[in-house]
Structures are given as C-alpha cells and as structure tokens.
Symmetry: C2
Subunit: 143 residues, 2 copies
C-alpha cells in the first residue's frame, strides 16, 4: 500500500516544471517555461535516465508536451491547477484499485460461488482514495 518510487518521482517532476508556470494575464497567454530533462533531473533529484522514461509517460498521458532538437525540452500541457496528484499517479501506475479482483488477468482463488463479498468495500475505498488524490492539484506546491 505504497506509491511506487516512480510515482513519487513523477510528482516531483511535474512540480518542478510547474514552477515555471505563469498564469495568463490580460496581455499575455498562459505559458509554461520549457525545461530540458537535464535541468529537471538536477532540480528534482531523479536520475536523468529514469526522468526521461517517466517524462515519456507523462507526455503520453497528456500532462506534458515535449519538443525535440536543440532548445527542445518539456512544458506542462495544462495549468498546474488542472493537474492532480491522481492524474500523475494513474499515469505511472495505472488506475488505482486497491484489490486485485478487478485487475485484468487476476483469477480469484476464492472457492465460493457468486460475486466476491469484499469487492464492494474495496471499490468504495479505492474511490475514496481516488477522490482524495484528485483534490490535490499542483498549484498548491508552487513556491
């Protein structure tokens, strides 16, 4: 019942990129400062190579935009207040469900027939966890 270290890293990474966010003013559009992976790694403390791997997931998940080539790098694809801890965790780990019953390819060994009597409770708890995480957005970590 722990987040993986990868999720932990992903949260740090989003948080680091979010530091460069400027809210839109009347004169200018909203903008995320572009950062390259090396800087992200240095500031977050996540090993460079592993950062790159995680960043790819975050790009695929639609939280981050990437740009190749010289002057390339990463930007947030959304405002920090539109990105939740849940978004990040589920991109790295898949959808949260505390129990295995739900997982694909899981064969329950309970010999009893009929639906598992624990399933509903587990589902409820999973939903509560997801709600808690959905309420935490990255604007609150900007310093």
């Amino acid at each position: 019942m722990q987040l993986t270290l990868e999720s932990d890293y992903a949260i740090r990474i989003i948080s680091v990129i979010a530091e460069g966010w400027n809210d839109p003013s009347e004169s200018e559009a909203a903008a995320s400062v572009r950062m390259d992976a090396k800087s992200i790694s240095d500031i977050s403390g996540v090993p460079l190579r592993f950062s790159l791997k995680i960043l790819r997931k975050l790009v695929a998940g639609g939280l981050v935009r990437s740009y190749k080539g010289t002057r390339g790098g990463y930007e947030l694809a959304k405002a920090p207040n539109q990105i939740s801890v849940l978004d990040v965790v589920e991109i790295t780990e898949g959808k949260i469900h505390i129990n295995r019953c739900i997982s694909k390819d899981f064969v329950c060994t309970r010999p009893a027939e009929g639906p598992c009597k624990f399933k509903k409770c587990f589902d409820d708890i999973s939903a509560e966890i997801r709600n808690s995480m959905r309420n935490i957005t990255f604007d609150r970590f900007i310093e």
Copy 2:
C-alpha cells in the same frame, strides 16, 4: 497502490473464522468456533502452508487465538465487529503510509533543503485511507 495478495488472503481468513462467531446471549458467553488450518485453507482457498504463515501473524497481532495439539485450531480473539479491515491489513503489511518519506531507512533524494512539501498531503491521504479501512468491520461479511 494495491493491497498485497497476503492481505487479501488474511481478510478472507478472518472472514472464514468469523462465520463461526456466536454473539453472547443471556445464557451463554460469546464464542468463536474453533477451526483448524486445513479447514480454513479449504474454505478460503488460501494455500495451506501460506495460511499457516498468515495465521501466525494474525495470532501475533492479537486478532486470533491458537491452540496446539489434537483438537487444536484457531478462534477469533475479538468479536467480528471489533476487528477492522485496517487491523488485518496493518498486521500483514505494517502501518499504512502511502509515501516513502516516512518509512524507516528511506533517504529522500530531493536536493531541496527543508521538509518535503508533499509530505503533508501524503500524510493526509494516508490518514483518510486508514479511516476508511477502520470503518469496515467483519460483522458485515458474516452470511
């Protein structure tokens, strides 16, 4: 972010033993029917050898009482409504805290000085999860 299969098993096991529970009446004291590991394993679908291992943890955790020798076996040490899913999970997995910062021997690689800015959120979520699980007691699974 999943319970281990061991926790899942432990929940089943407690539930199986709880089936034999009789609430105290005026004439009789409360009583849990004594069951041997083989029966528990058969009914729960948890491999015998692994059941024994889990049962030892549950005994050590104070949820179950064991008796050696012929006619030995296992009983609940408390009424089902006094045993929560949280109790069982924390006996098998240790205290729930979703993030590693708190774990013994974890060295955070965040280069920033000062307390981790994510810690409080994680602590809050962990507390919510624990509350959810504490509210689910085994009386509700008795059929």
